[in-house]
């Protein structure tokens, strides 16, 4: 292939690939994690219905309906598990560094709150720290209640295990590393830094 044609072919190919990559493949992760929350709510409603109905001495006909209800509830649990598997796979593809620090599902929740990979990358660490605690945050800003110390991060294993007094500082440390991780994933850096290890050490020294 002569040079001119090769060059044009490469420029076109690069253009297409850039457009595809930037088109937000992470939107599927966000959809999946939001769906898990919704399925959770539905699953709980079904469970409550089953428990309540069973208490009221159901006859032959009603038992059939109850069985179907139980089946549905089980398939929802299965679907939640499959969504979790999907999220783990996609997070490893789209935001590998972020997922390695936050965990796949928790990372996805934070990503969903931010809205997109790009928005997440440009957030300051203090915002990452509070994503998920919007109600408490704006309550506080309206002069009512204390400032929240953590949002979704509260559920991170490193923070959960800690006594109350240390959680705020730990959340700040972890959020700092997450902010770096988000930028590494957005700009495509694969420098080998152990962000989670660094955070663990700092938190252990609190």
């Amino acid at each position: 292939m002569d040079r001119k044609r090769l060059r044009e072919k490469l420029m076109k190919k690069t253009q297409t690939e850039i457009a595809e990559n930037l088109a937000g493949a992470e939107v599927h992760i966000i959809k999946a994690v939001k769906l898990i929350s919704d399925l959770d709510a539905v699953s709980n409603l079904l469970k409550e219905n089953v428990i309540d109905w069973e208490k009221r001495n159901p006859g032959e006909g009603a038992i059939k309906m109850l069985d179907q209800l139980k089946q549905n509830q089980i398939s929802i649990e299965t679907e939640k598990q499959e969504l979790t598997n999907f999220i783990e796979k996609e997070m490893d593809k789209e935001l590998p560094v972020f997922a390695s620090v936050a965990g796949a599902v928790l990372g996805a929740k934070i990503l969903a709150q931010a809205g997109s990979k790009k928005r997440l990358a440009f957030l300051p660490a203090s915002t990452v720290q509070l994503l998920g605690a919007e109600k408490a945050l704006f309550n506080h800003l309206k002069k009512q209640g204390q400032c929240p110390k953590h949002g979704h991060l509260f559920n991170h294993p490193l923070i959960q295990k800690l006594p109350k007094q240390k959680r705020g500082k730990a959340a700040r440390i972890l959020a700092g590393k997450l902010a770096i991780a988000a930028k590494m994933d957005y700009f495509g850096s694969t420098t080998d830094i152990d962000l989670l290890g660094d955070a663990e050490k700092k938190i252990a020294n609190l």
């Binding site: 040079r3 090769l6 060059r7 490469l10 420029m11 190919k13 690069t14 253009q15 690939e17 850039i18 990559n21 930037l22 700009f187 495509g188 850096s189 694969t190 420098t191 080998d192």
Partner: protein, 218 residues
């Protein structure tokens, strides 16, 4: 202007390349006209290769008409000067994995016809090996990864025998605890099977803890 190497000029204080696309700036650099020729100022703080030249690199590998494989092209700051040097007959295959940077490079390619952009991880040589059938005259790499040397060696297969390779070594990417001289020695040793080491240039004060390694493929 004095000629430092073919295509690289000096006015005693700064280095320049002759502009391939007259009148056009690439990144806000200064343009100087002398004797009817237009020169682009080259900043050693922005371009590692320029820093190496300023620090005594003995040869300019980017000669007119050469085919270059440039790994880690980023937004094209250094690439634009390489483009000036290899001229309209030269070819620069630019590989980078950042979409944002490649957007800028693709735009630059529209203006400079010797730039061939490739969006890819430099470790995934299968992505672009088909374009490099005839081999390249120079392998240039500037990526800040821990396995920089392994990437360089993997891409060495595209380099013609006896031709130059240039590796920008960022010691901090490899280890934050070992000393830079130790890292330099260890990483350079990895090159000795495939290459002869021609010259090692420290890039200080322009870049801290960076070295430019000039090699020749055996």
């Amino acid at each position: 202007m004095d000629k430092k190497f073919e295509g690289i000029y000096s006015n005693g204080k700064k280095l320049f390349t002759q502009n391939l696309v007259c009148g056009a700036k690439v990144y806000g650099e200064k343009l100087v006209v002398e004797d009817g020729n237009e020169y682009r100022e080259w900043n050693p703080f922005k371009s590692k290769y320029c820093a190496a030249i300023a620090n005594g690199l003995k040869d300019n590998v980017f000669e007119k008409g050469r085919v270059i494989l440039y790994l880690g092209s980023a937004e094209g700051t250094t690439v634009s000067h390489v483009s000036d040097l290899v001229g309209s007959e030269g070819v620069i295959f630019c590989v980078d994995l950042s979409e944002i940077a490649m957007q800028k490079l693709n735009a630059l390619a529209k203006v400079r016809e010797n730039i061939f952009p490739i969006l890819s991880d430099a470790q995934k040589t299968d992505n672009y090996s088909e374009y490099l059938d005839e081999g390249v005259d120079v392998l240039f790499q500037d990526v800040s990864q821990r396995n920089q040397v392994e990437i360089f060696l993997k891409n060495a297969v595209f380099l013609k025998k006896g031709s130059f390779g240039v590796l920008s070594l960022k010691t901090k990417s490899i280890s934050q605890s070992k000393g830079k001289k130790q890292i330099l020695a260890e990483e350079t040793a990895k090159l000795e099977d495939v290459f002869t080491i021609e010259q090692i240039v420290s890039l200080e004060p322009f870049e801290k803890e960076h070295y430019l390694i000039l090699v020749r493929k055996k």
